[in-house]
Symmetry: C2
Subunit: 196 residues, 2 copies
Amino acid sequence: MTLDPALILHHVAMHISLSSEERDFFISLLQYKSVNRRQFLLKEGEVCKHSSFVNQGLLRGYTIDTNGFEHVLNFAPPGWWIGDMASLITQKPGVLYVQALEDTKVIQLSKSNQEVLCTRVPKFERFFRILTENSLVSSYRRLTDTVSLTAEERYLNFCRKYPMLVQTLPQKQIASYLGITPEFLSKMKRSLLKKK
Amino acid sequence: MTLDPALILHHVAMHISLSSEERDFFISLLQYKSVNRRQFLLKEGEVCKHSSFVNQGLLRGYTIDTNGFEHVLNFAPPGWWIGDMASLITQKPGVLYVQALEDTKVIQLSKSNQEVLCTRVPKFERFFRILTENSLVSSYRRLTDTVSLTAEERYLNFCRKYPMLVQTLPQKQIASYLGITPEFLSKMKRSLLKKK
DNA sequence: CGTCTATTTGAATGTACTCAAAAGCGGTGG
DNA sequence: CCACCGCTTTTGAGTACATTCAAATAGACG
């Protein structure tokens, strides 16, 4: 079980350029973790201590409401970060569950190592600012879509935006992401077929 | 029409400490702007070039969907920032309208001045990082509330969280923020009264 | 092969919306 | 000062979108 940093280095290189020493220092701060299908990386009530970058596999982030219903907030395929950003930022107990939908390998950077990294290699400040900004942009986007689109429009958007996920994910998970019941998604798909 | 920086300085002081020179430099980068009731600070399609800090009055940020319906994303009473964060970050045309609900006075910091400020007084990096993080946290919160609570729960939360706004805002605006019609909000309030 | 979970289908229900009309409220001009 | 106008809020009846519950079917996995 050894670390393969190729993907995350490629990801970092899209935003900032590193010398080989900086790169090695960065790698030295990372931890490798395997999460089997159905296992959790994080549960409600825990303080989120790491950002997790997905190397292989697939994760989901979701909440459970007071009636016990799950609501998927995001999926994380390879090349994406996941965690409870709110809890990571505030270091207070969070509300998110992060669970593997397949056997998954993640690379983790602890919050304390992130701070060390930013101190020693200040250009990482820029990198993490960009990450936070991207999260913010996509969170806004998700919110405006949720309030202004019908279930059908949200589904069609999802299919266009994440064609891979539509193939691989159980319908149940997609329905939860869209904010509808699996039954209704099933009916919607049938009526979309008839329309064509 | 002169700038009164007391409120914004108090706000900044909650996160970072400034010397008097730093404070004066900060103030020199700010612009003052008056927005009359119903006037716009920003419209869909424009690139957001400033963060706006509300000194007096009240603003709303909203989108208009493809069917012409408005969806209020946030309100900004005195002491709050408002703008199209996504557009401000990406410097691409945004989707938000920002409109004054009352005669309003804002203090603006342009994105370019923000960069100047962070270069000359690096501790402002921290300040703006905190602002961005706070936006992210509240955007996540808004999203989880939207997907996991009923309209009634969202209304009661809103009343608890923003008792001032419940007093002053037209119901129509509150309904739009909650993601329901004004008619339905009216009926909901009546049924809440009967319950007590 | 059998069990467990996911998906589909149908009928009944509920939540929130549309449309229309009436009532309330605030500002403005005569 | 009050009468009128425009906008917001309330109310009601009918409707639509999405849910719940139950049952049948299909898939996945040991």
